[in-house]
């Protein structure tokens, strides 16, 4: 029996369209600001979702700006190195902890879960990073979140649900834990690795606060810190050295007129990689639900 599209459906569809409109509209408006040529900016309002004309000069300007470029590369470096360590250490630890028979397992689990429940504040974290000499090093922001305990727990749950028969067979064949992990666990867990890996990527890409505190050297800043300094704090010298702004070089002219276009552009540059990843996130997402805390 097929239902007809009735009043109820109309109501449901229109409220959901309103919902996605509220999500997309601000993003489209940003893009419109970024792409509208300067001469037409006065025609543009905060409500527009399409640019008045088409001009990528601000994008080009931003992507050729050494500070933006540098911070973009920094973000990519931090994300890549961080992700590799995250996945590797989370996976091996989760594998070990998924074995109920491991003596001392509960002690380790308690030690790990305690860190979820009791969090030290920012100053002692800072002091420790300083003491171990990681201040102003990329490693400070890579290592401080080497293993995310929530993702670790997700992965333990996932490994526990793998059919036990595989492990018994491996044991009979005389495989040690490392071999079992490489040849049985990894191939069976690709979807789980994908989902958790994507979460880790987003986590690294969105990092700004600790980077702001731990990295004094502005050339080491990830994109989010630069974005914050420029678009939120309003510190214009984050993009161009202060003397260039005062001197009003060529760059500086565009700069004065197009502050809002530049802000929109740089927000969009920071947001774009996430939008690129998004289809992959969705693809693995149904599998992700199964490994989320949702299944009993």
């Amino acid at each position: 029996m097929r239902n007809k599209f009735g009043i109820g459906d109309l109501f449901i569809y229109s409220s959901l369209f309103l919902g996605i409109f509220l999500v997309i509209w601000p993003l489209m408006n940003l893009l419109a600001w970024a792409l509208t040529p300067t001469k037409n900016v006065h025609l543009l309002s905060g409500l527009d979702i399409f640019p008045k004309g088409f001009d990528t000069s601000v994008f080009e300007l931003m992507l050729s700006n050494p500070n933006v470029l540098m911070s973009f590369l920094n973000s990519i470096y931090i994300t890549t190195v961080g992700l590799s360590l995250n996945i590797f250490f989370t996976a091996i630890c989760a594998y070990a902890l998924s074995k109920d028979y491991l003596p001392g397992r509960n002690i380790f689990l308690t030690l790990i879960i305690f860190t979820l429940v009791f969090e030290p504040s920012i100053v002692p974290e800072f002091l420790v990073v300083k003491r171990i000499g990681l201040l102003n090093s990329y490693w400070s922001i890579i290592l401080y979140k080497m293993v995310n305990v929530y993702y670790l727990i997700l992965m333990i749950r996932f490994f526990k649900e793998l059919p036990n028969a595989y492990f018994e067979a491996a044991e009979i064949d005389g495989a040690n834990h490392f071999q079992t992990f490489c040849y049985i666990v990894i191939p069976l867990s690709i979807p789980a690795f994908m989902v958790i890996g994507l979460f880790y990527i987003v986590m690294h890409w969105n990092e700004y606060f600790h980077a702001m505190i731990y990295l004094n050297d502005t050339s080491k800043w990830p994109l989010q810190v630069l974005l914050r300094e420029f678009a939120i704090v309003g510190e214009r010298s984050a993009l161009v050295p202060a003397q260039n702004i005062i001197a009003g070089e060529k760059w500086g002219d565009v700069y004065q007129i197009d502050l809002r276009r530049i802000r929109a552009t740089i927000i969009f540059i920071a947001l774009f990689p996430i939008l690129l990843l998004f289809p992959i996130i969705l693809r693995y997402f149904t599998k992700g639900i199964n490994l989320g805390g949702i299944k009993e």
Binding site: G19, L97, L111, S121, I122, L143, Q224, I232, L275
Partner: protein, 294 residues
């Protein structure tokens, strides 16, 4: 002993994570002893007992921060809690799977954006100069409002930006709960002639109540963290007094003003009550709904 030897490799697997947690979680906890000491750049720190806690509790700024945290958390829980539920129920009524997927995927996007970006977006939308909201206000013939520096609106901005970011993603839990409802319930309801609306009210809604309770209780566990990143990026000098929360206070006093001991004392206050809150809500949720934080 034999067992330990046999599983030596497994311990080796756990070791890096334990070392990591030791350095980045347990050492800072140990380092928090500074709350009971006077910090000296040269020479050993001097033990001063609870002096910094006394300073903290005799400071009206701290009570303001505490109040802000309580009020912002309460507002957030009260106003953001129902939205994902309504959203999940609405999404569930979309019969065509491909349409539902489409709506869902777009609604999930904001969850993956950083608070820096979201704040940038909100600052742009709320701007007095050609911001979307003020454009609408002006279209209706009213005077524009400078939302970002207006202390009366700023807490609402926190609530609304929180909804914008998390409503879609948070509905995932409820959607999963709806999926697991036994289809026979709906079939027998249809035989009894229940309308679509009645099915939602008398079957779907009651069946996801356990999930609502879990989410609600677990949210309460994080009551003292009213959203650092959000406040940090949306506050300014004009609105500071209204949205300064414990975490931003601890950051400002510690890292901007350099008063380490006082900052850690504030951090320990939050850590201690947060510990009690998270632990008790976890066990409460576990006991009544069978599902906790871990």
């Amino acid at each position: 002993m034999k067992l330990i030897k046999k599983h030596f490799l497994l311990y080796l697997f756990i070791l890096p994570t334990l070392i990591f947690l030791f350095i980045f979680h347990y050492l800072p906890i140990y380092e928090s002893k500074l709350a009971f000491q006077k910090y000296r750049i040269i020479g050993p720190n001097e033990w001063v007992g609870f002096r910094y806690f006394n300073i903290l509790f005799n400071n009206s700024a701290f009570y303001n921060v505490l109040w802000n945290t309580v009020i912002i958390s309460t507002m957030k829980i009260a106003f953001t809690f129902p939205i994902p539920i309504i959203l999940a129920l609405t999404l569930n009524e979309v019969r065509k799977l491909s349409h539902r997927r489409f709506f869902q995927s777009i609604l999930y996007i904001p969850h993956f954006l950083s608070w820096v970006i979201i704040s940038g977006i909100f600052i742009s939308m709320l701007s007095i100069n050609n911001g979307a909201v003020n454009n609408i206000i002006q279209l209706m013939g009213n005077e524009p409002i400078n939302f970002l520096t207006n202390a009366n609106y700023v807490r609402w901005i926190l609530v609304i930006s929180e909804i914008w970011r998390s409503a879609g993603w948070d509905s995932v839990l409820y959607i999963a709960a709806i999926y697991s409802i036994n289809q026979e319930l709906y079939d027998s309801a249809k035989i009894d002639g229940a309308s679509r609306w009645q099915q939602v009210i008398f079957i779907t809604l009651p069946m996801i109540v356990p999930m609502m309770i879990t989410v609600f209780i677990l949210n309460l566990g994080f009551f003292l963290s009213a959203g650092f990143d959000q406040v940090f990026n949306l506050m300014n000098a004009a609105t500071l007094s209204r949205i300064d929360i414990i975490d931003t206070y601890v950051y400002r006093v510690g890292l901007l003003q350099g008063n380490f001991s006082l900052s850690i004392a504030g951090g320990l206050f939050k850590g201690f009550f947060g510990f009690i809150l998270i632990l008790s809500t976890h066990f409460l949720a576990k006991k009544y709904t069978g599902r906790g934080l871990w």
